[in-house]
């Protein structure tokens, strides 16, 4: 089926309203888009995180698809087990073969930090499953603590901004790159505002002969300190500033799916959120430049892998606006 919204509205999205996610949360939007895009019957494994605690509050569940949650770190392992069990049952003739997709939803805490080696193991064993990382750059469920995905200079409750520390002192992991280094068939980066790109990637991932990994940018209005209605705008800004480029690695081949050029400096993104407010008061000169340097380095490395020339950043906000 083609990806047309009007056709998709005729489907049941498998995720019911009434869940406890904050107003303006991007995670349920991603979940609905993923479940709608799947052609096969899904079996979902959940890691602990915002999505899990908000969608499965006893005695209720928001899910209308088979679901398992066991612990924080081992969602990828649970999915491996389900896939292996399915294959075994089919082999022994105790279950008819049918098209199924094993999907994992984990936050960035469950992917970058706590579930990292479990995910790595599942990727190495080559189970046919799809891992969706809902990347909201922190442990939002437990009260906005830093994670390996939190970016430099961001305020969190464990990296408070003050006289001595300008928010988080370190840059972030390139998790998409790390997963791509495992040599799995399909790895991609997507963002919540670009539904068509995300759904196309889910469909490609579903057809991959082996593990597939999608790192999806999921802005968090509560933890990033912005108004709930700006969720999609923030996601769009992250793509435009090349902080979160949309790309895929299909059988080792890099390809940019989003904008090919960086149209805004990172300051536009930093200004949009309260968690970077302290950087803009000019107390911490150098941090913004360091963030921009990191973004440029990663962007140019990605462009090189895609076979494109390096690019310089637009100088100021004014220049970016007048270029529009």
């Amino acid at each position: 089926m083609t990806l047309k919204l009007r056709d998709l509205t005729l489907l049941d999205d498998g995720f019911e309203s009434g869940h406890g996610l904050c107003a303006g949360c991007s995670e349920s939007v991603i979940v609905r888009q993923v479940l709608l895009a799947l052609a096969n019957e899904p079996v979902v494994a959940l890691a602990t995180g915002c999505l899990e605690v908000s969608s499965t509050r006893f005695p209720d569940t928001a899910w209308k698809v088979p679901l398992i949650h066991s612990a924080f770190e081992n969602a990828a392992t649970s999915a491996s087990g389900i896939e292996a069990a399915y294959k075994a049952l089919v082999r022994k003739g105790r279950m008819a073969e049918r098209p199924m997709t094993f999907v994992v939803f984990g936050g960035d805490g469950a992917t970058y930090d706590i579930g990292f080696q479990w995910l790595s193991g599942a990727l190495e064993r080559g189970h046919k499953f799809m891992y969706i990382c809902l990347n909201n750059e922190g442990y939002m469920n437990t009260g906005i603590q830093r994670s390996g995905a939190t970016m430099l200079g961001a305020w969190t409750t464990t990296t408070p901004a003050g006289d001595l520390v300008p928010g988080k002192p370190q840059w972030r992991k390139d998790m998409t790159g790390i997963v791509a280094s495992h040599g799995v068939p399909y790895v991609a980066q997507a963002a919540v505002h670009h539904w068509k790109d995300l759904m196309t990637k889910v469909r490609t991932a579903e057809k991959a002969e082996g593990p597939a990994f999608l790192n999806v940018f999921a802005p968090c209005d509560r933890g990033w300190r912005y108004e709930p209605e700006d969720t999609m705008a923030i996601s769009r800004l992250a793509v435009e500033t090349a902080l979160w480029p949309l790309y895929e690695v299909d059988d080792g081949k890099y390809k940019l799916n989003g904008p090919r050029h960086k149209t805004r400096p990172i300051i536009d993104y930093l200004e949009s959120q309260g968690r970077f407010r302290h950087l803009l008061k000019d107390k911490e000169p150098g941090v913004i430049e360091e963030i921009q340097a990191n973004v440029d380095r990663e962007w140019n490395r990605l462009r090189e892998r895609c076979g494109l020339e390096p690019e310089v950043t637009p100088e100021t906000t004014e220049a970016a606006v007048s270029a529009d």
Partner: protein, 97 residues
């Protein structure tokens, strides 16, 4: 089904199993709302951007056209109003008695 939380011990499913898929529907999260979305159907092009962007699956559709907003579950985040390409959704302050 008995109202959740009012079952006796013998009525609760063994092992805490949840027997009804999508049962969160009975949580009326519309009570969280401070802003109310009002759709101008004269301007609406039924592009369904609001439908795909809504975190709470509140836009009700029929045969590819937008019908209504599920105010029992709408948390009033306003993503629909800011993302609508023709700006036909307006957020107004919620008034309750």
């Amino acid at each position: 089904m008995t109202q959740p939380g009012t079952e006796s011990w013998s009525e609760v499913p063994q092992g805490g199993t949840v027997l009804l898929p999508g049962s969160t529907e009975r949580n009326l999260t519309g009570s969280w709302r401070t802003k109310l979305p009002i759709i101008d159907f004269d301007k609406c092009t039924h592009c369904m951007i609001c439908w795909v962007m809504c975190p709470d699956s509140c836009f009700k559709t029929a045969e590819g056209t937008l019908q209504s907003v599920d105010l029992d579950h709408c948390k009033g985040c306003g993503i629909c109003a800011s993302e609508c390409p023709v700006k036909c959704i307006e957020m107004v302050p919620e008034e309750r008695d």
